[in-house]
């Protein structure tokens, strides 16, 4: 089942984490208390030029040395610290969450057009596939993911998210079927500046994963959601598609609709489906994807999961439930239930 919510303030006005905590717990009927998480954009202004690499260590003494060494090999660790948490009766601290602020050395990837991003991606894949007891779960600039096994309000209190201020927040309330209790299995999933929260199941995962792996991504988190982050990264960052066009590739119109379009549009959508057929995502899903400039919400092609949006002033909200949005902003306006496959996009205007 799962409940999701996302908000963007289009003028970058900062919001602390207390209201999204309330909104997410409003959807506890959609979760099971075994996983919840948040991501916030704009939370590390003093380190905003560095990649904020967030790591779960099973045992600091055993594996931190190896991560330090790998990061130092590829760049400079500007600062690192344990992520502050509070003792919490209902959350068992099975991992030690840590964060590094990291500056990659671009000269080490000379042939790349985006060397810093490629280095960070490489480090994430390398750590998550080859090191045991270590998981990098957040790797963007000025972005922090806070997730654990527990109810949303407990996870929020555990990480003290009311102390963080961001202009974009996503939250996820999990009802796990596959990897209950594993912190890494909680959402949001993040790679570089992309973060994803997802309600549903991707029946095309086997196709999507193999497609994305042929571009060098490696799926390491035992869940179908991470593939969404990689697909968006490939389509938007590497292939240069707009958010709208990327959604048209991931959840395209049916051929019946395409056949009825005017010629130019028909050719465009045919080209998208032919080129990005293996990226098409099937199965029931509602997803919100964020990067540093925008959030995009969309559902599968026959809308087998709910998604609703609302606006208030400069803020755009996207959620599984209107009730959750109203918890964050009681005076919300323009409540819209988007059609299957059509994206809701919120972009910064300042």
């Amino acid at each position: 089942m799962c409940g999701i919510i996302g908000v963007i303030d289009r003028k970058r006005e900062l919001m602390d984490g207390s209201s999204i905590r309330q909104a997410l717990s409003r959807m506890n009927e959609r979760g099971s208390g075994e996983g919840a998480g948040y991501v916030a954009y704009g939370v590390f202004p003093e380190f905003k030029n560095y990649y904020a690499i967030h790591v779960f260590f099973d045992n600091i003494h055993e594996s931190k040395g190896a991560v330090d060494a790998l990061l130092s090999e590829w760049g400079t660790i500007v600062h690192d610290e344990e992520i502050p948490t509070s003792d919490h009766a209902r959350i068992r601290k099975v991992h030690t969450p840590w964060r590094y602020f990291f500056k990659p050395d671009a000269t080490l990837m000379p042939r790349s057009t985006a060397p810093e991003e490629d280095i960070v991606t490489y480090i994430v894949m390398r750590v998550n596939t080859t090191m045991t007891g270590v998981l990098i779960f957040s790797s963007g600039k000025n972005i922090g993911v806070f997730k654990a096994s527990g109810w949303p309000e407990d996870v929020a209190d555990f990480y003290k998210i009311h102390e963080y201020k961001g202009y974009i927040w996503l939250g996820h309330n999990r009802y796990p079927t596959n990897t209950p209790g594993w912190w890494g299995g909680a959402h949001p999933f993040n790679l570089l500046n992309w973060s994803v929260v997802h309600n549903g199941e991707i029946t095309s995962y086997g196709t999507n994963r193999r497609y994305i792996e042929s571009y060098g991504y490696q799926c390491t988190m035992f869940t179908d959601t991470e593939v969404v982050a990689y697909l968006v990264d490939l389509l938007v960052r590497r292939h240069g598609l707009s958010a709208e066009m990327a959604v048209k590739a991931l959840a395209p119109p049916f051929w019946d609709e395409i056949d009825r379009m005017p010629e130019k549009e028909r050719l465009l959508h045919t080209a998208i489906r032919l080129t990005y057929g293996p990226a098409l995502m099937n199965g029931p899903f509602a997803i919100v994807v964020a990067n540093e400039n925008s959030i995009v919400g969309f559902t599968d092609r026959i809308k087998l999961r709910p998604l609703v949006s609302g606006e208030f002033g400069n803020r755009l909200f996207i959620s599984s439930e209107e009730a959750a949005i109203r918890t964050m902003e009681p005076d919300v306006e323009k409540i819209v239930m988007p059609r299957a496959g059509s994206p809701i996009v919120g972009r910064l205007i300042a």
């Binding site: 199941e201 095309s204 707009s242 293996p278 099937n282 199965g283 092609r301």
Partner: protein
């Protein structure tokens, strides 16, 4: 005579209490099993091939056919087939030729793979009530798109797409030439693909004039003998296929016996009447991959880059690397023909012993192309041993874009897989050129039956996809997570990249 008479393959008996001496069996058997003597039907069972034409035509169910009523002493090694092949070659000193596909009881991988269905966590999709997309495009595709977003928000397509074949179902009919099969058989298939919105191959036999109305659904073949090839032929096809090899006989060329080359066949193939049409083993202008590339480009130039060009190879041990080489040419699709593929005539030793199953070949080709990051740029067509819609779903999940069926389509026309296509006296009017036999096959009825078959499979495929929560064929393609192996060995599971049932 030191070998003497061998046991009967089939015992044919007539129940005289049932028989009304109508002589339909006498008339229908083209193998000479039946004759009328003094108002009673007599049989020469030794001629019987079990094509069941007599059974099908007998109005009184008076005929029964029994396989191997008297057999040799059973032996696991020195089987009946082995012994009879030895007798045969001891007598003749020749290569044994047979029709149809591989006749050895190798395990069938398809039957050790099971499909998935949704329960609870995701809903299955009902194709009767929701859209279900089987449309498939075959041909080269770009690796990424160049789009231009204008100031007013309109998006313009900068990349240009090359022509693709548009199929309304991923099921096509493979290449069976006019000559190997009759014109009525080809016409039946042509009408069927035209009705369904899919395609069929001409085989290396040219395109008969009477099939021109269906040329929009025909893929013309260029094989090593170049029979029937001229610019008119190339231009008429919806696509062109270069045949390098065939699953039923990898490594050797085709063989159409002169008896099947009548006037019409001779004109269509552009060879003398009555002459054997023997295609060379290799193309003598293709001795390496770069030569193939030139032929692909040559054919594209000749047809002004308007038609997709496919390359068909037999599934052999190194198919994956070969396919990767083909994908780097301008070829639009690669056809992988598995070792169970049928044929009009093939040496028994090749038919039964050379090549690999299509399931393993497709899995390794798909994986290799993905490793090299070029999988979606080229299409993969699987053929050879596709028997039912479940096979289609499984091979697509292993990585194919579409399939060719051959034997299944002929069975829809009445073929009983008796395996004597090479003899040219097919009692069903399919693998023969004898006018009296050919006319038994009515293209109107035949096409209806073939169209029904493809229609039925397509509906079943849609139901299977819906049950798996998939509403677009792209999401089934290469989706090996939706397959499980049931009692396959670990090495094969690695090749197929599937988990075990329960895992």
């Amino acid at each position: 005579m030191s070998i003497g008479t061998v046991p009967l393959k089939f015992r044919v008996t007539i129940d005289n209490k049932q028989c009304m001496a109508c002589a339909r069996c006498v008339e229908n058997c083209s193998y000479g099993v039946f004759r009328m003597e003094n108002g009673v039907v007599r049989v020469s069972p030794r001629h019987c091939v079990a094509c069941h034409r007599c059974l099908a035509m007998c109005p009184r169910d008076a005929i029964s056919i029994e396989e191997r009523p008297v057999d040799y002493r059973s032996h696991p090694l020195w089987t009946t087939d082995v012994k009879e092949a030895i007798f045969n070659q001891a007598r003749t000193g020749k290569i044994i030729v047979g029709g149809m596909g591989n006749a050895l009881p190798y395990p069938v991988i398809f039957d050790r793979l099971v499909l998935d269905a949704c329960q609870v966590t995701n809903p299955s999709i009902d194709p009767l009530r929701e859209p279900m997309e089987l449309r498939t495009y075959l041909g080269k595709k770009p690796s990424h798109l160049d789009l231009l977003t204008k100031i007013n928000g309109d998006v313009e397509l900068i990349s240009t797409l090359v022509p693709n074949l548009k199929l309304e179902t991923p099921i096509m009919i493979g290449h069976m030439s006019y000559g190997a099969i009759s014109l009525n058989a080809q016409t039946s298939l042509a009408k069927a693909v035209n009705e369904i919105g899919t395609f069929m191959g001409t085989g290396e036999g040219g395109l008969h004039e009477s099939l021109y109305p269906y040329q929009g659904n025909m893929i013309v073949q260029v094989a090593s003998g170049r029979f029937g090839v001229d610019i008119n032929y190339l231009e008429r096809g919806a696509a062109i296929e270069i045949k390098i090899g065939q699953g039923a006989k990898p490594g050797i060329g085709g063989h159409l016996p002169g008896e099947k080359v009548n006037r019409e066949v001779s004109v269509t193939r552009m060879i003398p009447e009555g002459s054997d049409a023997i295609s060379p083993a290799p193309h003598h202008d293709i001795y390496s991959i770069e030569d193939l590339k030139q032929l692909v480009r040559g054919l594209k130039e000749a047809t002004e880059w308007k038609k997709p060009v496919f390359v068909k190879i037999a599934a052999v041990h190194n198919s994956a690397a070969i396919a990767a080489g083909i994908a780097r040419s301008s070829a639009d699709a690669i056809v992988i023909d598995g070792f169970r593929g049928g044929t009009g005539a093939a040496p028994r030793v090749f038919r039964d012993h050379v090549g690999i199953p299509v399931e393993a070949a497709i899995a390794s080709v798909d994986a290799k192309l993905r490793q090299q990051g070029i999988r979606n740029e080229v299409s993969i067509i699987a053929s050879g041993g596709i028997r039912e819609s479940a096979d289609v779903a499984k091979i697509i999940a292993l990585g194919a874009d579409a399939v060719y069926i051959g034997t299944a389509a002929l069975i829809a026309l009445g073929c009983r897989v008796c395996g004597t296509c090479n003899r040219g006296v097919c009692a069903w009017g399919i693998a023969t050129q004898r006018p009296d036999l050919v006319k038994r096959l009515d293209p109107e009825t035949g096409s209806k039956q073939v169209a029904n078959l493809i229609h039925g499979w397509t509906d079943e495929l849609a139901e299977l996809m819906g049950a798996a929560g998939i509403n677009s064929i792209e999401s089934l393609r290469g989706n090996r997570d939706r397959l499980r192996s049931y009692m396959l060995d670990e090495a094969l599971m690695t090749v197929l990249d599937v988990k075990s049932v329960g895992a």
